[in-house]
């Protein structure tokens, strides 16, 4: 068998590199004669179709041999046309009547890697053919593939039992969240008592830092959003009121809706998206980088140093932000009312105290403080639950924002029902 190639040459047929092989796949040009046939370079093995993998049928005295040429590497095979042609050819070989599959000559290849070996191994039906001519390194690669290849069984979908268990896991997770939040609230209460007993030991620097970052830096965006909502609302209302000639009521509608509902709600939603997410991410990153564990080992209570200052800062700053947002939305409303239906600024300002009772302002402020506290608690809760990997961090941040916005709106609805007789 060793002289198979030499024998091909002896036959002296017209193939350009001197052997009597016929290209198995018609789409490729025969190799130029100037190129050495055993040019085994891996340097440019990805400049794909220079030497595409192909199979040539070769007559030898011992019988028909499949001679493999080209680069049988992942990059060489990864050209769609090459791959399609090769699959087609291998399929033909399999279904062909010719009993030639037992003889393979790999020595003319320009490169073989594990992916190429896998193609051959799969084609051979996961066993060695009767006669394979290959050099040592090719044999080693094929051996590795032979040793490690396993045909994949089709993965089964989830069974009903698994689905039932998943459902149970979802319920348990919900219960776990409730438990965690309750525990966090209890801890916060204890920390507040501790703070009241020894206020001089409190994390005041942290509180002031959070006040600035959550409150002061949020002023521009809340002002802009508030102003624009005021403008839009006033414009829409003015169109309706003009039809009835009830222009003056714009003060009542805008006053009550902005001061009592929209101002606090808008501010809370903005802060939940802006600061809630950042709190979760901050604490979550501390979990990923083991900072939380380090704090615990050093004997520093994470509740007192992380949760308390954030909760305090948010509970303090939220009413202020809410008033700020309300003020800007009222300003937008006043200007629009002046422009679109000649309700003058002076009239608006004079009529406002009569239209909106002071209790509305108290209600809005109390509500905002509660919103702030809830946002901080939910953000800290999700931050502390982050597992030490990046995916969990992303999920935690998203869940934190969605939950805090939902809770804010739910609590707002609850307030609307409970205090329906106050201030209207």
């Amino acid at each position: 068998m060793l002289n198979a190639v030499a024998h091909c040459r002896w036959q002296g047929l017209s193939s350009s590199d001197g052997s009597a092989c016929t290209a198995g796949i018609g789409v490729f040009e025969p190799m130029p004669a100037t190129k050495p046939p055993l040019f085994k370079s891996i340097q440019d093995n990805t400049v794909a179709p220079a030497m595409p993998p192909r199979i040539e049928r070769c007559e030898t005295p011992a019988g028909v041999t499949q001679q493999l040429r080209g680069k049988w590497t992942a990059a060489g095979l990864a050209v769609p046309s090459v791959w399609a042609a090769l699959v087609h050819h291998l399929h033909e070989l399999n279904s062909g009547s010719e009993a030639s599959q037992g003889r393979w000559d790999l020595r003319q290849m320009d490169g073989l890697d594990h992916v190429g070996a896998q193609v051959l191994w799969t084609h051979w039906g996961r066993q060695w053919p009767a006669d394979v001519q290959a050099d040592d390194s090719q044999r080693r690669i094929l051996d590795t593939v032979a040793r490690f290849a396993v045909s994949q069984n089709a993965r089964l979908g989830p069974t009903w039992h698994a689905r039932f268990e998943n459902f149970g896991a979802v319920l348990l997770r919900g219960a776990d969240h409730a438990l965690g939040l309750t525990r966090l609230m209890g801890q916060l209460l204890l920390d507040l008592l501790r703070l009241m007993r020894r206020p001089q030991d409190g994390p005041w620097r942290d509180v002031s830092g959070h006040l600035f970052r959550i409150g002061a830096t949020a002023l521009p965006i809340t002002a802009l959003v508030g102003f624009l909502i005021g403008v839009v609302l006033a414009y829409l209302i003015s169109r309706q009121l003009l039809q009835f000639g009830a222009d003056a009521f714009v003060v009542n509608i805008l006053g009550v809706s902005l001061i009592r509902e929209l101002g606090p709600l808008l501010a809370a939603i903005l802060i939940a998206g802006r600061s809630g997410s950042s709190i979760t991410a901050q604490i979550g990153v501390m979990r990923v980088t083991e900072e939380l564990d380090a704090m615990r080992v050093l004997g520093i209570a994470s509740g007192f140093r992380l949760v308390l200052p954030r909760a305090l800062a948010l509970a303090l700053v939220m009413p202020l932000i809410s008033i700020w947002t309300t003020a800007w939305s009222l300003l937008g409303g006043m200007l629009t009312a002046d422009l679109s239906m000649n309700v003058s600024l002076a009239f608006f300002a004079n009529a406002l105290p009569g239209a909106v009772e002071v209790s509305n302002l108290v209600l809005a402020t109390a509500k905002s403080a509660l919103f702030g506290l809830l946002i901080a608690l939910i953000a800290c809760h999700y931050g502390l639950r982050v597992k030490p990997n990046t995916e969990s961090l992303g999920q935690g941040t998203t869940a934190s924002v969605v939950t805090s916005i939902t809770v804010v709106i739910l609590v707002d609805a609850l307030f609307a029902v409970l205090f329906r007789n106050v201030g209207i």
Binding site: I42, Q43, A75, A78, H114, V119, N389, E391
Partner: protein
């Protein structure tokens, strides 16, 4: 003369610092030939990892030229780049949203040529080649230990059998057994595939066990580039401190007790796998 895998010429790397520009590399020349296992050694801050990242095209040099596989590095980062260079990042850099098998299969899958079952099997072969069991295939990266992360990352780097493999601290954080296994696997790959390996490491055992050549970075350039004996014979304070300190002496003693051919050729009778498994 052998072919050049990586060719670095007149490389300048500078970082902005408060006192102006800080020069990391100054007229650095380094040639890595096909089939070598080169260890990059140097004190901290000498820009070993930066050099590795520049070879990968992740960072730009201020001046100078880097050619990988005969082409400028900028031409490498494109579809199918996994067939040119494999990189084992220090922390593994596994995609945390994918399972182990999906991580390994990802470069092949992105080519959108091979059928899914073929890709899965190819990934499985690589997974088992680096000494992991099939059970690990469905795990998420967050469930893996440090050693397993390294193995999976290596399997992913090797999925398209690139001719050039870069390793950043391959044995850092591994137990000695895994580190030995990694060395053995790399040597096997090197022998079978003609793999060229460039590694940055502080692990003297790995350096002496694997390297066919050691390049020492100091004084902003490669001060010596040669076999272990040549490097040890070179007079430089860093080399004295690094190789001939207490830990270094121990590794060098171990080196002298080993047959000398291990340093120059890399023949490994034990095979390519970390665990010797019976052939079914």
């Amino acid at each position: 003369m052998r072919e050049q895998m990586v060719d670095i010429r007149q490389l300048w790397t500078t970082f902005p610092s408060p006192e102006g520009e800080r020069v990391i590399h100054e007229n650095l020349d380094l040639t890595i030939e096909t089939g070598e296992i080169l260890s990059l050694v140097g004190g901290s801050g000498t820009g070993k990892t930066v050099l590795l990242r520049q070879i990968l095209g992740l960072e730009q040099a201020a001046r100078g030229e880097i050619r990988v596989l005969g082409r400028p590095v900028a031409a490498l980062a494109q579809k199918g780049a996994a067939a040119h260079i494999g990189m084992l990042f220090q922390q593994g850099a596994l995609f945390s949203a994918f399972t182990v098998l999906e991580n390994i299969a990802f470069p092949l899958r992105e080519l959108k040529v091979f059928p899914s079952s073929f890709i899965q099997e190819a990934a499985m072969i690589k997974l088992r080649m680096v000494g992991l069991d099939a059970d690990a295939a469905d795990k998420m990266p967050s469930q893996l230990s440090g050693g397993m992360v390294k193995r999976v990352a290596l399997a992913r780097a090797l999925i398209m059998d690139p001719p050039l493999l870069l390793l950043d601290e391959p044995t850092a954080g591994l137990d000695p057994e895994s580190a030995d296994g990694l060395c053995q696997l790399l040597r096997g790959m090197h022998r079978d595939m003609g793999l060229t390996v460039v590694m940055v490491t502080h692990d003297l055992d790995t350096i002496f066990e694997l390297s066919t050549r050691i390049a020492v970075l100091a004084d902003r350039k490669v001060i010596v580039n040669g076999s272990a004996q040549e490097v040890l014979a070179f007079e430089h304070p860093f080399i004295h401190e690094f190789f001939l300190g207490e830990r270094g002496r121990r590794a060098v003693v171990a080196l002298r007790h080993r047959p000398p051919d291990l340093l120059t050729s890399s023949t490994d009778p034990k095979g390519t796998s970390w665990k010797t498994k019976p052939t079914p």
